[in-house]
């Protein structure tokens, strides 16, 4: 019993020893937990050493969680920089908070990037990943997937996951007015809608279904792990582009350091970690060939502007809901 009390007190003391002595020069960064900054501690230390500062990173498990946190904190937010906002949410965020114009000129995206306040730092194409063990005849285009495919698909729920929302936008972009018919055809083929990408991919790895929605570069991870039975296919209709962005909030206390951080994110020192930590594309050209394991040809990009999404995504989701409910 006494031993127990001692252990308990020790643990509490240990927790207090975790507090960093804060440097005068510090930045509060709200980061998506999936990003390389969060996964690799060396990057953070590198920036801190370069600029003699401390970075306080607060991580969130999804873009939506980050967004809801900014929304709930409102104008009293302590964040200086937010990283990991999906490009869909830019218009929504601009209404909640005000951001500084960035001064980054050259980013290498498949589309021209027009926004002045948000800067992209990585992008990926939505795509379907197939399991060679469970599937012999795979669809080579979105039309084939919708009409002739008999295999089950796992998709994240559009209402709780950014990836799922991007999928509904993808269907909308390809089929425009016919999207509700497409959903009707897809409905029996979908195994389940999961809460997020993680659960969907976990079920796919357990071989619950042969097809899952993920990024076109996901098979690169499996090649790296020497698992060769996963592949993705480029559809001729095009693939939806998912872009992750970062921005500086106007309420930040330390503009100079924040600009330096944005420069750092779009520089080679940071971007070189992105392909093999996050398995998505960086926004600067690291070399003439695509990173190892990545598909050699990038598919045709499809994209909606963020203002269009902000205006129409409730209607798009309601249309999806309408079909799925009946």
């Amino acid at each position: 019993m006494r031993l127990f009390v001692y252990v308990y007190i020790n643990l509490i003391l240990l927790s207090f020893s975790n507090l960093n002595c804060q440097n005068e020069n510090h930045l509060n960064v709200y980061v998506h937990q999936y990003s390389a900054l969060n996964k690799n501690n060396n990057i953070k230390k590198q920036f801190e050493k370069l600029n003699n500062c401390t970075l306080n990173c607060m991580s969130f498990d999804s873009s939506a969680a980050l967004l809801s946190r900014i929304f709930l904190e409102g104008s009293k937010t302590k964040a200086d920089i937010i990283i990991g906002i999906d490009a869909n949410h830019i218009a929504k965020l601009k209404k909640i908070n005000s951001f500084l114009d960035h001064n980054i000129k050259n980013v290498n995206l498949p589309i021209t990037w027009k926004d002045k306040k948000f800067i992209p730092y990585s992008y990926a194409y939505l795509s379907f990943i197939f399991n060679k063990k469970l599937i012999d005849k795979y669809p080579k285009s979105m039309d084939e997937l919708v009409n002739n495919n008999n295999y089950k698909i796992i998709i994240p729920d559009p209402r709780t996951s950014t990836l799922g929302l991007n999928f509904t936008l993808w269907i909308k972009k390809i089929y425009k007015d016919q999207s509700s018919h497409v959903w009707k055809k897809l409905k029996p083929k979908i195994l389940t809608f999961t809460k997020g990408w993680g659960e969907a991919y976990g079920m796919f790895m357990k071989e619950e279904a042969p097809i899952v929605l993920s990024h076109s570069t996901s098979p690169a991870f499996h090649t790296y792990k020497k698992q060769n039975n996963f592949f993705s296919v480029n559809f001729p209709e095009g693939h939806y582009l998912q872009i992750r962005t970062a921005a500086i909030l106007k309420s930040s206390a330390n503009y100079e350091l924040a600009y330096k951080f944005l420069d750092f994110i779009t520089s080679k020192e940071y971007q070189k970690y992105i392909p093999h930590t996050n398995w998505i594309y960086p926004v600067i050209k690291l070399s003439n060939t695509p990173p190892s394991g990545f598909p050699t040809i990038e598919p045709k990009p499809l994209y909606f502007s963020s203002e269009y999404i902000h205006k129409n995504s409730p209607a798009i989701i309601h249309e999806w809901l309408n079909v799925m409910i009946k």
């Binding site: 937990q33 498990d61 809801s68 195994l191 809460k195 991919y201 976990g202 409730p314 409910i325």
Partner: protein
């Protein structure tokens, strides 16, 4: 006991309040479809009622079988094994159920003719039964021990057949004790979230909880979310008013050897009892064995041990769970000592007030954390303390439920004695309450600690890099491509929860 016309009155009140509250829902503006909301509510009720019925029937049979077969081999181990599903994180249980009953699961692999489709209502029912049968059985087993011994003597004397034993001895007890258990399990099924999201295969199988989560986290429509939460609260409150509350009757505990010496059960009943126990054990143990089996991966384990994030997670989890356990137990004991210790101040409504603490179940941790965050964010309370507070509120109902009957029974037994001897408060606690309650307090501590250990909701909201816990780490690994590490972390989490329970097992046998 509830009389017939009383029941009818309560039923009519229930219907009136339901219709009134559905008018309340019309205040929701900009909801996608009223059809969608109605369908969601209808499905919530449908799956909860079905899961509750199946769970309760099976747990009555199982509790009865366990009560009568208390001298079979490994009895204590079986009882403790039944507690494991309560402490596993829901996502681990759901994944292990998918591993067994899913498309590539064991069942479908062995039987090519019978293909179970787990995605949909079937899967939700299986998962809910897996999670709730152990809980209900454990509670019912304790209640079975409250049947007065005299009834069993009479049954033996009159040589009652098993059917009549059930009708005259066991059913009156069940009639009193079942309503709170039914309402607890109904609420757990009604507000279950992860199960529905993973196993429900479309918005057709959505419940109110999913809709609330989606409104708060994705559409930021706090107004509509609050309206739905209030609706859910009203429904829950109805249960406490409509269902009669249980009365605590007997203070006699049946000894373990009673059945061996006094009751002979005929061979057929014996056979069915053992059959039920074996079937339920297989149903509950197979997912657990699957978790353990898939978690044994020494290579990943070694790499985890080198990862400093893992050790931070372990440290944080231990702090949170131990603090939650201790503070919850201390608070509950203090509350009960004030309210339950004086018989003259007993008020009949207090039983209902205690049941009110179960309202917390109606608002699962994710929603609760969101509301807490909106209210208290400006005060800059450190994250760990917030998580501990939320976990305390989440686990207090269970602790109160375990400790309250025992304290009340002891008061009833010894009240006149210590009033007549004028025993003061501290000696009263030391001599009368503590020796008898010790095992229950340790049990409630371990339940509180395990429940807070496995909690994912509060941590998702308030956790960050510095307050990562083991379930949050597991979730992080799931969402980045490190899927192999997930079963290992799940196994570690299970082992931690089991070690908390081992404390109670050891104390009980001492």
């Amino acid at each position: 006991m509830v009389k017939c016309n009383d029941k009818m009155k309560r039923f009519i009140i229930l219907l009136i309040i339901l219709t009134l509250s559905s008018y309340f829902l019309l205040f929701i503006k900009n909801l996608p479809l009223n059809y969608y909301i109605m369908h969601t509510i209808f499905f919530s009720f449908k799956q909860s009622i079905l899961s509750t019925t199946i769970s309760i029937i099976v747990s009555i049979l199982l509790a009865r079988a366990l009560f009568r077969q208390n001298n079979i081999f490994g009895y204590k181990i079986i009882i403790n094994l039944l507690s494991i599903p309560i402490v596993l994180p829901t996502i681990v249980s759901v994944f292990s159920i998918i591993a067994i009953y899913g498309n590539q699961g064991l069942v479908n692999q062995f039987s090519k003719q019978i293909q179970i489709n787990i995605y949909g209502l079937n899967g939700i029912l299986i998962a809910h039964c897996f999670l709730n049968i152990p809980l209900a059985t454990r509670i019912l087993l304790q209640h079975f021990k409250e049947i007065p011994i005299e009834n069993w003597y009479l049954a033996k004397q009159l040589s009652l057949k098993p059917l009549y034993i059930f009708k005259f001895i066991e059913w009156p007890l069940l009639k009193q004790k079942l309503p709170p258990i039914i309402s607890l399990i109904f609420l757990l099924c009604f507000t279950s979230f992860t199960v529905i999201l993973i196993l429900g295969n479309s918005p057709k199988t959505n419940t109110i909880q999913v809709a609330i989560y989606q409104l708060i986290h994705f559409e930021y429509n706090i107004v509509n979310a609050i309206i739905l939460i209030i609706f859910q609260l009203i429904l829950g409150l109805l249960f406490f008013f409509i269902l009669p509350s249980s009365h605590i009757t007997s203070i006699n505990k049946i000894s373990q050897d009673f059945f061996k010496n006094f009751c002979t059960i005929n061979k057929l009943s014996h056979f069915f009892d053992v059959l039920i126990i074996v079937i339920c054990l297989i149903f509950i143990l197979t997912p657990i064995i699957c978790t353990i089996y898939s978690g044994i991966n020494t290579f990943v384990f070694k790499s985890l041990l080198c990862d400093i994030k893992f050790w931070y997670a372990v440290k944080n989890s231990l702090i949170i769970s131990i603090s939650t356990g201790t503070i919850t137990v201390l608070t509950s004991v203090s509350i009960l000592l004030v309210t339950r210790v004086n018989l003259d101040k007993q008020l009949a409504w207090f039983q209902k007030v205690e049941n009110f603490s179960f309202i917390v179940l109606l608002i699962p941790p994710i929603t609760f954390s969101g509301i807490y965050f909106i209210l208290f964010w400006q005060y800059q309370i450190p994250n760990i303390i917030t998580i501990i507070i939320i976990n305390i509120l989440m686990t207090m109902p269970f602790v109160l439920k375990i400790l309250s009957p025992s304290i009340y029974m002891l008061t009833k037994k010894y009240y006149l004695l210590y009033k007549s001897l004028d025993i003061k408060k501290w000696t009263k606690w030391k001599l009368i309450y503590w020796p008898n309650i010790k095992s229950n307090i340790i049990l409630s501590w371990s339940i509180s600690a395990s429940l807070s250990l496995r909690d994912l909701g509060a941590v998702c909201f308030f956790g960050g890099q510095s307050t990562i816990t083991i379930p949050a780490l597991m979730y992080q690994k799931l969402n980045s491509y490190n899927i192999e590490e997930v079963p290992v972390i799940a196994l570690i989490l299970t082992l931690f929860s089991l070690s908390f329970f081992y404390l109670t097992y050891r104390k009980k046998t001492q």
